[in-house]
């Protein structure tokens, strides 16, 4: 790289909602540092660029790529591979890229069920039952859309990833800190953490950052937060509200329990957790105050959707990765 040439920056969205892009724009004036220190070469939400421009770049041309979104279709998979080749540092940015996130919950259903829901329910105005076609002969020529894959995968299930920034979306101050770090590292003033690290987050759990008091109290029932008037100073889980703090990585500053709501797990598994849901099963099982199987079952009825509770963000990255219908198509 010549002295006056800036490092190159790219950001891409695959199966995502766009919130990650907003979170990046939300870093405030720091976005000017990005501009001052990087040439933005590819960022579909912010500038016009074509995939063929990226294809034309030499391998390793992009210094830093923030990749958000999961791998839902072949276009996502193709872009993951392309950007991996073209990037020195590929960051799995946000929950969708890192663990599938909300789009990953589609891994509970087969493609057929998903399409039926999208195009064929009573509330859908689609009298001719029109379904998407992978290819269509338009007068101007044959048009194609990418294949919808059987289930959502995470970015690192497709290509090797250098770093992970968790969160749905990542907190802007955390993104700002990562931007600072990368700039410092490029100037030789700081060292990047070892590849594979989670950056822009803490090394323990949301509970560790949560100011609510815990007393090792056990519960006789699970409640939904709207059914009680929770004590503002006490741990929500000990009040029967299913809070995912014990298994979730810190980094957000325990925003939700401080605002009066349970943590739903958007920062993903805490350090050292292999399967997010398994960790929560262990945590919830230890607050239940019952030894009798029937009584335990009654208490568990208060968790009507265990998969949704335990894998809301993490299903695609869990050990099982998807439910049977997604795998078998039935």
């Amino acid at each position: 790289m010549s002295a006056n040439e800036k490092p190159k920056f790219a950001m891409y969205w695959a199966a995502a909602c766009g919130g990650c892009e907003i979170a990046v724009l939300n870093i405030g004036e720091k976005i000017l540092d990005v501009d001052a220190n990087f040439d933005v070469v590819f960022w579909p939400v912010a500038m016009d660029a074509k995939y063929k421009d990226v294809e034309a770049m030499p391998d390793g041309y992009i210094t830093l790529t923030l990749f958000n979104g999961g791998i839902r279709n072949k276009e996502n998979a193709e872009m993951a591979r392309l950007l991996r080749r073209k990037s020195k540092i590929l960051v799995s940015f946000g929950s969708c890229a890192s663990e599938g996130c909300i789009p990953g919950l589609a891994n509970l259903s087969s493609r057929q069920e998903i399409l039926d829901t999208a195009y064929g329910t009573l509330t859908t105005d689609n009298p001719d039952n029109i379904r998407p076609q992978y290819s269509y002969a338009a007068p101007e020529g044959e048009l194609h859309i990418p294949e919808f894959l059987p289930f959502v995968q995470t970015l690192d299930q497709i290509v090797p990833v250098d770093y992970y920034i968790p969160g749905c979306p990542p907190e802007s101050h955390q993104i700002g800190a990562v931007v600072d770090l990368v700039i410092q590292a490029l100037q030789g003033k700081a060292q990047l953490p070892p590849p594979g690290s989670v950056i822009g987050a803490g090394g323990s759990t949301v509970c560790d950052d949560c100011p609510r008091k815990r007393h090792e109290k056990k519960i006789k029932e699970f409640v939904r937060i709207q059914q009680i008037k929770p004590d503002p100073d006490l741990c929500l889980l000990e009040q029967g509200v299913p809070c995912n703090g014990p298994a979730t990585r810190n980094g957000c500053g325990a925003l939700c329990p401080q605002a009066g709501a349970q943590c739903i797990g958007c920062y993903g598994p805490a350090e050292g957790v292999t399967d997010y849901g398994a960790r929560l099963i262990t945590a919830f099982a230890s607050v239940i105050d019952a030894d009798d199987p029937q009584e335990i079952e009654r208490i568990l009825d208060g968790l009507p959707d265990p998969v949704g509770q335990f894998y809301r963000f993490n299903l695609a990255a869990s050990l099982l990765r998807a439910a049977k219908p997604a795998f078998t198509g039935k």
Partner: protein
């Protein structure tokens, strides 16, 4: 399912009771099917649900968890904890499409070799009737739709797979 299907069942057994029960069944020459691979834990309370998920994700057809009878755990009440984890895990697995017979909990004291052998035989037959689990993460089926070659064939696609056209 064909008669030749031999389920692979991972058995997590407590050192103080069921592992000895299995031992006793062996020394007493009580016959039980060889489908269960026993892994000894110090107590059923050591059973992290992660172990069960690992087993199922990596090719086991079922998991058997065993522990001391209620009130008899050597670590006071850890088997109750195991019971709660087990019941919650089973509900979670149901949501993933995994039948309840594929994860079973059995209490057996060190003296109950014959009873443990019967329970194992029962579980093996129940799982045999269900057929293989064959969870895709344990096979090369998984990941196949994402092979390099296929992912790059997007533009070459000429016709859509049947289930999307349906």
């Amino acid at each position: 399912m064909s008669d030749t299907f031999e389920p692979v069942i991972i058995g997590f057994t407590c050192n103080w009771c069921s592992y000895r029960a299995a031992d006793l069944a062996g020394t007493a020459r009580v016959k039980y099917p060889p489908n269960v691979r026993l892994i000894r834990l110090m107590c059923s309370g050591r059973l992290d649900p992660t172990f069960v998920l690992h087993a199922l994700a990596n090719g086991a057809d079922a998991v058997m968890i065993t522990g001391c009878h209620p009130g008899e755990c050597h670590y006071i009440e850890q088997n109750y904890k195991a019971l709660r984890r087990f019941l919650l895990l089973r509900r979670t697995l149901a949501g993933m499409g995994i039948e309840p017979q594929r994860v079973q909990l059995v209490w057996a004291s060190a003296a109950e070799g014959a009873r443990l052998a019967e329970e194992i035989a029962r579980i093996v037959e129940e799982v045999r009737a269900l057929g293989p689990l064959h969870w895709p993460t344990s096979t090369d089926l998984y990941g196949k739709p994402f092979s390099e070659e296929e992912a790059f064939s997007v533009t070459k696609e000429t016709s859509a797979p049947a289930e999307v056209n349906a």
